[in-house]
């Protein structure tokens, strides 16, 4: 890997860290297109529990890993919501880069004669 590529990767990673760590706190809190479709037809109370009606979300089940320390893009134990979301985002970017980059690097085609 050349030094020039290294600088590009560092720059790109910095942008991703800023987006996930800072900008994520200004994201819309409304349900996304899929979730909004799944909730249409039901009524909800202020805690998000279904109070009536018929919709897809009625049959929704909990996530098997819902008790994980990072579940729901927050860090369990950190009460400040901005810090919790931001740190979870930073961790997610680093883990994704490490896992993705690591697997792709190991699987890459090595040019013959080069170590």
């Amino acid at each position: 890997m050349t030094r020039r590529l290294g600088w590009f990767l560092a720059g790109g990673l910095l942008v991703a860290l800023l987006l996930a760590g800072v900008v994520s706190n200004f994201a819309s809190g409304s349900p996304d297109g899929l979730d909004a479709t799944a909730r249409q037809g039901c009524t909800f109370d202020s805690h998000g529990e279904i109070t009536g009606g018929d919709c897809m979300a009625r049959r929704e089940q909990d996530h098997q890993l819902a008790d994980g320390p990072l579940a729901g893009y927050g860090i369990r134990g950190i009460d400040n919501p901005y810090l919790s979301t931001g740190l979870a985002g930073v961790l997610g970017v680093l883990v994704t880069f490490a896992v993705g980059g690591g697997v792709f690097w190991l699987a890459r085609r090595r040019s013959p004669g080069k170590v």
């Binding site: 942008v15 919709c55 996530h63 994704t96």
Partner: protein, 243 residues
């Protein structure tokens, strides 16, 4: 602000259909991994890690598309333009697997459904559009941006209809299919436009800074110009003609 769940949760589609799509997703990803090896070199491998990390980050940025409805980037088209279709599908899958296992987003049972829709259908549709449009549009940063914009809209709507197909096969509720399809398509056209603007900005920026890192500029070339008839005939005589 809490980032809410953004992928298919457990229980929306029944266990049998979820299992079938998990098997399909595994086979499709194995095929992608096989094809991806030809593309993965010293330059593309770290770039693919960055694309995955970038998609993870941008998926956290829900933007409002209607009152009470938001959307986020899925990333298939962005990945296709920067690292190609095979590696691109693997990048989106990496993000979905990490979101499922670490952040409890997108049910574990539903992982195959989510990978099928976003990593396979969305990426494949984006790829077809990108490959087609780059035959007509100029291979400049703006041409590439316009390509990414249009392909993103199509890719996102295609991914949303993947869910509709899965719901038709194994939905646990009995909602009207045309309603589900129409609602999903409608909101996802808007989400696709948002995704397209993000993808266009990103690929145009990379194309300006490091055009050599953009897969679509290096590999989606027009087929080589046909060899002039006389030369072709001459070489045929040399190689295979009567000696």
């Amino acid at each position: 602000m809490d980032v809410e769940a953004m992928h298919i949760a457990n229980g929306i589609v029944n266990g049998t259909v979820s299992a079938v799509f998990a098997a399909f997703a595994a086979l499709a990803l194995a095929f992608c991994a096989w094809r991806a090896r030809a593309d993965l070199d010293d330059r593309l491998a770290p770039m693919a890690g960055l694309v995955a990390a970038f998609i993870f980050a941008v998926q956290m940025l829900n933007f409002q598309v209607l009152p009470g409805v938001s959307g986020h980037l899925l990333g298939g088209t962005l990945a296709v333009v920067l690292v190609g279709p095979w590696v691109g599908a693997l990048c989106v899958s990496t993000v979905l697997i990490i979101q499922c296992l670490l952040f409890a987003d997108g049910g574990l049972t539903a992982l195959g459904l989510n990978i099928t829709n976003m990593a396979i259908i969305g990426t494949a549709a984006g790829y077809l559009l990108v490959a087609g449009l780059l035959r007509v549009l100029p291979k400049t940063p703006s041409g590439l941006g316009a390509t990414a914009l249009v392909a993103s809209v199509v890719g996102v709507v295609a991914a949303s209809q993947g869910f509709v197909f899965e719901y038709w096969l194994g939905g646990t509720t009995q909602l009207s299919l045309p309603w589900v399809s129409g609602t999903m398509a409608g909101t996802h056209v808007l989400i696709g436009i948002g995704e397209g603007l993000i993808a266009a900005t990103t690929v145009a920026t990379v194309a300006r800074v490091r055009p050599d890192l953009v897969y679509a500029l290096r590999r989606f070339r027009k087929p080589p110009a046909p060899v002039p008839a006389t030369t072709a005939a001459a070489s045929a005589t040399v190689s295979g003609g009567p000696a």
